[in-house]
Symmetry: none
Subunit: 133 residues, 2 copies
DNA sequence: AGAGCATATACGTGTCAAGGTATATTAAGG
DNA sequence: CCTTAATATACCTTGACACGTATATGCTCT
């Protein structure tokens, strides 16, 4: 029981270069397996297997057209990636100034002469560890 | 001239749940290896090895503080992910509300007959957006 | 110099996913 | 029906990589 734990994260899905290539292809319009196969010059079983993974992860969906399957993108997983990315967004969209980052770096390389002696229980001021949501 | 190391794609880097957990930790502030180790309850060599991967991929950088290394985020790889995501953005800019349903549905979607994996268990439901481990 | 802590690395192991090849399914047409 | 086209799946092999354990390196203080 409890067989399928197999909810792979969206990140594992897009980690595969061939899958990203397929997704990029589908941006322009929906494509059949054979069209993907030809454009990416990749063996048909490979295409089918990747499409299966993408479909099960919700990245694509397919409709039947005679003997063909037409695959097209679905938006949700991309939103999920975007949601994850949002938490890091302040690192470049807020202060895009590489200058400030640079200054921050010098700030602690210069006056850092701290000993290991006494360390007030965590140098992370103002941190709250969003733990165990 | 082995200038560029085995430049793995940023996607392979963030495919690893523990690495995403580390990145999430570093959002709040820079952390030492030991602090990461304790907060994530993960063995020290594991933390160090993941940090090495993250550093070589440009996700983090470190400064020396006595015997400790303080790690902090770097923005570039996140921008790279964001740039990739941009190409798909038009697909979900419309369906902003579909994300919630998607995430809620991910619990029971049992799409594959893969073998047993030991991913997130218990209370955290399917999504790992918030935390892991 | 030595002890002790903090971090990095080396090594062996198991797991899992991706690729290749072959075959199965399904639909269309003669 | 039988054949052919289009796609899916099964089986096997291989390689990468994440983990655990053990050890090495490095820093600080006494």
């Amino acid at each position: 029981m409890a067989y399928t734990k197999s909810m792979e994260s969206v990140f594992e899905i897009i980690a595969e270069p061939n899958r990203r290539a397929i997704l990029s292809l589908l941006v322009s319009s929906q494509q059949s397996v054979g069209e993907i196969e030809r454009q990416l010059r990749m063996p048909q079983p490979t295409v089918s297997k990747h499409l299966r993974v993408l479909r099960e992860a919700g990245f694509v969906e397919s409709t039947v057209d005679a003997q063909r399957r037409l695959y097209r993108l679905k938006p949700e997983p991309f939103q999920e990636v975007n949601a994850w990315l949002d938490r890091f967004r302040r690192f470049w969209s807020d202060h895009v100034d590489a200058l400030e980052r640079h200054l921050d770096r010098m700030d602690q390389s210069a006056p850092a002469k701290r000993k290991t002696k006494k360390r007030p229980r965590g140098p992370n001021r103002g941190r709250d560890i969003g733990e165990e949501k």
